[in-house]
Amino acid sequence: MVESRWWITALTHAVLLLGVLVVLLPIYLAFVASTHPVQNVIQVPMPMLPGGHFWENYSQVLGRGVPTVGNVPIAVMLFNSLVMALGIAAGKIAISILSAFAIVYFRFPLRMAFFWLIFITLMLPVEVRIVPTFQVAADLNLLNSYTGLILPLIASATATFLFRQFFLTVPDELAEAARMDGAGPMRFFFDILLPLSRTNIAALFVILFIYGWNQYLWPLLITTDRDMTTVVISVQALVSVMEEEPQWHLLMAVAMLAMLPPVAVVLLMQRWFVKGLVEPEK
């Protein structure tokens, strides 16, 4: 701390509290809305305290689903989302750490060309290549499958670049010492490099899990079966119902449920996450 006068402490706390309020208030309102019957929610002003329908609303969306989105239980969609987010996060990490390993530790023709090719794909987000990607996925019969949800999103230039930068900071002597110890390249990778990268992996996992969980456009295109869609899509589907009032209480319950897994991941991995961002172990 630069200064420690009482009014500065008070001011900083006030600013922080204000920030927390701004972020938490909508979430609180969503929670309140998800515990009331629909009539209470649409009246003005909306109630500010939780109502008595918590169990009712949540068990309906989780177990039976909502009629307007095909009565598919949200539990199924949560599972779909989870598979997709885990698949994307794990796949991205596995692929990018291996490509970074190849680029940093092996000398092969066109090594830098490959690196720059990977790097250039940073400039092409999913949306830009979505039509050809959809065509390919459709030709490969990947519609309405987990593979279809995960595979096209699995390559990551950012993660490759991150791992490359980290590997470059690992002293060369470590690789040489492993060579003298008789470790082959893959052994070195699994025994030395992977354990050293674990904080980076954890930080990336958090970022990529949330990225995967929040995917909207691609799942929307690739899934047509209601029981293959993800929870994020169902939130949107609940809002844009035709000719009737959205069922705000159920919608908010789904939104709350959709929020939980990313929050859980962040909370559980927070310590690692921060460590990975600030002090890569060498």
Partner: protein
């Protein structure tokens, strides 16, 4: 037991035309500790890494115990290396660091434990086996790096400036420990350093390398007493040797320094710089410590520029009155010379080192 031999070993990096190692031939005897000594960038580390198998050998042959190892992987050469920055695996405990190579070699668990325990005991690391390298001091890390080398029972130890990351006091202490350990284990060793004190105290023989060429391979005292070239002479010894321009005269029985001072030689020098001649330009090397103060009859008159009093001895920097070239003298005791003072020095005839001015090679009787 092992002997390492180099046969005209050379190294050129791919895509570059300059040869960094220019055909070195030498033989490291079984159980010998040879120090590779030279200024930074001279190729000493490269040569060591070629023995290790971390750098390819461009030409010549290298053999360990009679077996040519040019194309062998490091792990198949039965060698162990201690790196300058220790290169310990930061996420592994001291035990695992030492055991890693043995595990890869699929040595039974009980034997790994026994070998690591023994090495730890020798190196006094037993209390630290469970710690990570990050929780150890520099000297302890250094010992772990040595332990990792010892447990493998290698034929050859390679040391790449292992002490340069330690503070001066610890360095002196570890130097002695390394020497004791090497003598005790009797393992053939190659040791790279740029520190001449380290080289002089550790080596059975020193290989002085300059610009990819082995200038001299000899026991430490011989390197000091009879440097094979002007480079070796200037590199070994502190303060560095004085070099004065001069020429041979009197049928190789005397040298005349520029400025006219004539110094007799103990024995006539043959094969001077000019083919078949004994008269011609040479470089005269004089160690600062072989100059004696003799204000009565000294041959060399010196105007003092600066005196460094070190307590046990004094280092006088000055210029020769006759030709203005600088001269450094190291005199025992306290010599209260002040800038501008005139001193006269004498030098024993057998303490002169003569070098061919063009080739830098030593000239001898």
């Amino acid at each position: 037991m092992a002997e390492v031999s180099f046969q005209a070993v050379g190294k050129t990096y791919p895509g570059s035309r300059t040869e960094v190692i220019k055909g070195i031939s030498a033989r490291v005897a079984d159980g010998e500790l040879m120090v590779l000594l030279g200024p930074s960038g001279c190729g000493k580390s490269t040569l060591l890494r070629m023995v290790a198998g971390l750098e390819r050998i461009s030409r010549g042959t290298m053999a360990i115990n009679g077996r040519i190892v040019n194309d062998l992987e490091p792990k198949d050469r039965n060698i162990a290396m201690v790196f300058q920055n220790y290169a310990l695996y930061p996420h592994m405990s001291v035990f695992d660091n030492m055991a890693y190579g043995l595990r890869i070699a699929r040595i039974p668990r009980a034997e790994i434990r026994a070998r690591v325990a023994e090495a730890a005991q020798i190196l006094e690391l037993t209390p630290f086996l469970k710690r990570k390298p990050g929780q150890l001091s520099g000297g302890q890390r250094q010992r772990v790096a040595m332990g990792r080398a010892i447990v493998r029972n290698p034929q050859v130890f390679l040391f790449d400036e292992p002490l340069s990351n330690l503070d001066a006091k610890l360095r002196t202490q570890m130097r002695v420990e390394i020497k004791k350990l090497q003598t005790r284990l009797g393992v053939t060793s190659l040791y790279v350093t740029h520190d001449q004190a380290e080289a002089m105290t550790l080596a059975d023989r020193i290989m002085v390398i300059n610009d990819g060429v082995a200038e001299q391979v000899a026991p430490p005292l011989e390197v000091y007493r009879r440097p094979a070239s002007a480079f070796v002479a200037g590199f070994i010894g502190t303060p560095a040797m004085n070099f004065l321009a001069g020429r041979l005269c009197g049928d190789g029985r005397a040298v005349e320094l520029a400025g006219g001072v004539r110094l007799g030689l103990p024995a006539p020098v043959a094969g001077g710089p000019m083919a078949g001649g004994t008269e011609g330009a040479i470089t005269v090397g004089i160690r600062p410590e072989s100059l004696r103060l003799d204000n009565g009859h000294g041959d060399l008159a010196v105007a003092v520029d600066l005196t460094e009093m070190l307590g046990a001895d004094s280092v006088v920097h000055g210029r020769l009155a006759d030709n203005g070239s600088t001269l450094v003298a190291r005199l025992s005791g306290i010599v209260p010379a002040r800038p501008g003072d005139r001193l006269r020095f004498t030098i024993a005839a057998d303490a002169l080192h003569l070098f061919d001015t063009t080739s830098g090679r030593r000239l001898d009787a």
